[in-house]
Symmetry: C2
Subunit: 229 residues, 2 copies
Amino acid sequence: MTTAGRRRRTRGADDPNSGQRDDRKRRTRRALLDAALELLEGERSFSSLSLREVTRVGGITPAGFYRHFAGMEELGHALIEDSFESLHQMMRDARKAGLPPAHMIRASVTTFLDHVQAHRSHFRFIAKERYSGSSVLRIAIRKEIRLWVGEVAVDLSRFPFLQRFNSDDLQMLAGMMVNIVVAATELLLDAEQTDADAIQRIYKNAEKQMRLLMLGASLWDGGRSSVPE
Amino acid sequence: MTTAGRRRRTRGADDPNSGQRDDRKRRTRRALLDAALELLEGERSFSSLSLREVTRVGGITPAGFYRHFAGMEELGHALIEDSFESLHQMMRDARKAGLPPAHMIRASVTTFLDHVQAHRSHFRFIAKERYSGSSVLRIAIRKEIRLWVGEVAVDLSRFPFLQRFNSDDLQMLAGMMVNIVVAATELLLDAEQTDADAIQRIYKNAEKQMRLLMLGASLWDGGRSSVPE
DNA sequence: CATGTTAGTCAACAGTCGTTTACTGATTTT
DNA sequence: AAAATCAGTAAACGACTGTTGACTAACATG
């Protein structure tokens, strides 16, 4: 009921959102999002953040918060959108750049983990909320991950040696690959940013896990073959 | 008659902890732990629980809490210990019962996931705190998982076809197996307990992932072989 | 320029929070 | 039987919480 504006703002026909006032609003909104991310850098979890804390760090008064979000949950949702938006952007770019012929696995792992490091705070937020947030946020995150797995499955389907995979098995394989990089992400977020060795090890380990997985995939017959036990 | 009813309870000789008072204290302590688990059944995360809430559900006054724990973090630590204690007990039992010759993978997956379902609240707590709790709790959980991976690696080392795995690769393989069941655990905790179909699907999927992994392992040469890309 | 819009402020509200202090009364020890 | 222990209570504290309504002043519109 707050959005029922009777007066239509006839802002410039060509430039819908560019008054100084809208600019300022956007900056403040960003400040609030950044404040939340900053508070999450430490030990805190999103659900333990208070609205007042966020406004304090963001530089406005508590009441001002409501000019931007209906409550903390809405802010959380905005953070999820931001995070996955940049992930999808990254994947679009990577796809456009074309797949390198060899070292395919290493390139993918490196691209993704580099992206994680460039957006640590976003991924830290996602990692924390994935299992612990409100069900609304958890479901939103899960949806995004499912989407992501789907994209990977499509990419995989173009490999000749995976042609015999049916759709379910392809989804499963993509899911396992995503799980590998997600697990690596979580190690990466815990590693000291300065510890280049530890970081290198995480990259190498993820690549190795991928290779082991692909080795299994190259022989896969739908799970009917027996394996030494 | 006065002499007949004389009680000598010089705790320390034969019966260190069994007065009615100690009994009561233990019951209250359990009530607090259970109260926390109960509150965690819903949307809440541990870090958002208040001490007062826990005592309210547990049936004592806030001040009484301090007779049992120095603060909420200590209670969290006790929950972690409880959870992994029962997991280790289960693995000890399973090992003692001996490994079934065939259907090894299915048996292991089933045993573990059954255990998860029998201790949903514990595992829900662990899942929520794994990435989102205080660093003390996170580190404690991580330590326990590393321990667990180690145990699995030892179990794996007894398989003939894994003899050529060096120690690092064995740890990696064990880690991937644990990751598979952990991922399945998290799906299981989100599934409706009454939805037998969904649960069945989660079991089957985890088994399938294990088989794919073992297939890769059976050909593994340390990651030097190239895979179709 | 006059008028409306609105991002952000200010002050107050009713609650909840963790923690402390002094206490009570049942159980244990001597 | 007296004395000591101690799990749990009762009340109070200062601090912090989300949300509100009335406000101000910079901006936008006509």
